[in-house]
């Protein structure tokens, strides 16, 4: 068993409306900052996972995402796994 550090980023699924992203983009434009486009606003989560391998850690994270952390109707996610 080893402990893996996981960084999970949950973001709006492509095509689904992202009111937060639009609002932040609007506010950035309001600052008259040129050449910046805010694309999406999402969420970040870090956690430790005990597992026998990177693959197992990934499987645990995928399962958690499916069951709890990610709403598949609206969101996608990427998980970065760092070994112990």
């Amino acid at each position: 068993m080893a402990t893996y550090k996981i960084e999970l980023i949950v973001k709006p699924k492509a095509g689904v409306r992202d009111p937060q992203g639009e609002a932040v983009d609007g506010a950035v434009k309001g600052l008259e900052v040129k050449g910046v486009k805010v694309h999406q606003v999402g969420r970040y989560l870090s956690m430790d996972v005990d597992a026998r391998s990177t693959d197992e850690a990934k499987r645990i994270v995928d399962d958690l995402c499916k069951r709890l952390l990610v709403n598949p109707n609206l969101e996608t996610y990427t998980a970065r796994v760092e070994g112990a």
Partner: protein, 730 residues
Amino acid sequence: MKPDLHNAGINMGLKPHELDHIEKQLGREPSLPELAVFAGMWSEHCSYKSSRSRLAMMPREAPYLLAGPGSHAGAVDVGEGWAVAFKIESHNHPSAVEPYQGAATGVGGILRDVIAQGARPCLVMDSLCFGPPHDAKSRHIAQGVVAGIAGYGNAIGLPNVGGKTVYDTRYEGNPLVNAMAAGLVRHDGMRTARAQGVGNAVVYAGASTGRDGILGAAFASVELGEDTTEKRSHVQVGDPFTGKKLMEACLSFGPELGLVACQDMGACGLTCAASEMAALGGVGIDLDLDAVPLREDGMEPFEVLVSESQERFLFVVEAAKAAEAVKHFEHYGVHAAVVGKVVAGGQFRALSQGSVVVDLPAALVADGAPKLNWPEAAALPPVAEYAEFSPPKDLGKPLLRMLSEPGIADLTNLYDHYDHTVGNRTVRGPGEADAAVMKLPGSARGFALTITGRGELCAVDPYRGALAALGEATRNLACVGAPIMAITDGINHGPPSDPVENRRLTETIRGLADGLKALGIPVTGGNVSLYNATAEGAIPPSPMVGAIGVVDDVSRVPRGELAADLALILCGTPLATPMTSAYGRIASGQLAGSNVSVDLAADKRLANLLVDAIRRGMVSFAKDAGAGGLLTALAKGCVRGRMGATISWTFEGRLDWHFFGETSGVAWVGVAPRFADAFLAMAKTCGVAAMRLGSSGGNRLSIKTGESSVLDISVDALRKAFTANERGAA
């Protein structure tokens, strides 16, 4: 029609006879985008094709009715030049799929109906039916729905002032989410959806259009090859921030800025708004789909036409003022674009990249769906009476059980998710009285709203259940001093394609119609949601009644919490016989027993008495007996007021049915002792049996019949039972 086109139409949900009708009316084959337009507009949701002719049974006229069925939201005159526009709408299926967004967009949608009427929304209420809280999936749905209603309503800044939440196994997998909104508008500020003036501009305002809610699964299979549903249609996402900006922009956009007509884009989006506005005005509308603000690349014309992206309105604007109108919306941070114009004739046309992709008579699209006459069962299956059970000797145990029953038990934790006070109009919010009371701007005058409906009763007898919903609405409003003046109805039913369910639908509507006639009030509009069923069967018929009445002086509104030293008077004549009720279900273990008790005439007499006495400032406490019966009602008053009561009463018949039965026309009234005789005299004049049975005080609820004590329990114990079960949706 060519076989592939025919199949495409069927896949979109159109029926063979509808396809034939389309071809016959047009004298040609429709194009694929045209089929999509019909599929959306002739869906049950938009066309009411299965219920329309029956809905016409309901009375829809009254001198104070300023906008009736067919308007965005019905409106009644509440005095001082103000009208209240209000309407109920369901979002059952979206909430089953995606509870948070389904409920949030339900609130957003009903608000846009009120705004389209020209009214500034001032409250939200809801009527929710979930599976039992011990079921994990039902709990997940309930939590998401409550969070969604709160998330949208709180952010846009509207108080949620009450509602009704029911838990029943028969809603497992098919929750009901009905939201009601109301708004205030000056009589001369009301808006119309009637498009007029050839040459006038059609202006789109609000969020840009994406592939949101595009007829779901049906469209995925339409000639679109490998595309999956997932890619083609997204869950609709509510955005209260854009909704708020759009609301302010719409409410400040009046005739002086060139407004001719407006309609929100809800079900079937752009198509519905444009074709209905054209049909109402007897004109045509040309839409330029290339001018519609889009959020995604590569959208097909039909997708733009039927997308149900949220937070959008369509306006008809005087041609000369169109550019200024666009600027007006942009000032509020809302996208806007001229997307078409009003034309002579009556065609609804859509152009894309220079070619006409839709060219249909607007009236055929908006109102032309052939009525569906489903077969009806000759009679409803009989419901057995409750099995015999012996009455309890002491009322304590069953009372504690009733108080902790989900649906009767306290929902404070649930309601604390909602803002109740934003807007400074809330005189009585959730749990504070039997109906919500709001005040008019700068006045002591106000209005009251309540939302009622008991699937439990309608499952047994939809006709009497519908009458009972009207009776309860009448009593609820009367308990805050408001005579019922109009309703909006939300009909939630199983599939009409099932003859028994279809018969139930007839019975429900007949019940509403007869009840409204008996009360002498109209329906102002509403919503019908059919096909509410799962593999386990249809939901119980669940008509929701949203009722309104005027309160002359909000300072005289009694409370639903008991205060000290009041004379307690029981109004009405409770029956001591078995009847369909929460008590019967719990005590017998049977979901339903026959015999729905209802007596609208008794409710009306009771209401006359209460309203009169409240206007005279005589009443401190008023609470009608609804689910759980008259003892549960009194116990709730004790808990909310942290106040005991002593009752002494002799009567015939079974103790339990007497105290927990749900007889019509029954309410508790608490008056200062000096008013008691006068109140009893008024009751006599009104033809209401009324008895002074005791008084409030102390910290125990004690009841004696004859010489024997049948209940003696601390208010604290009642409170614990009432609040222990606050799992519900919270």
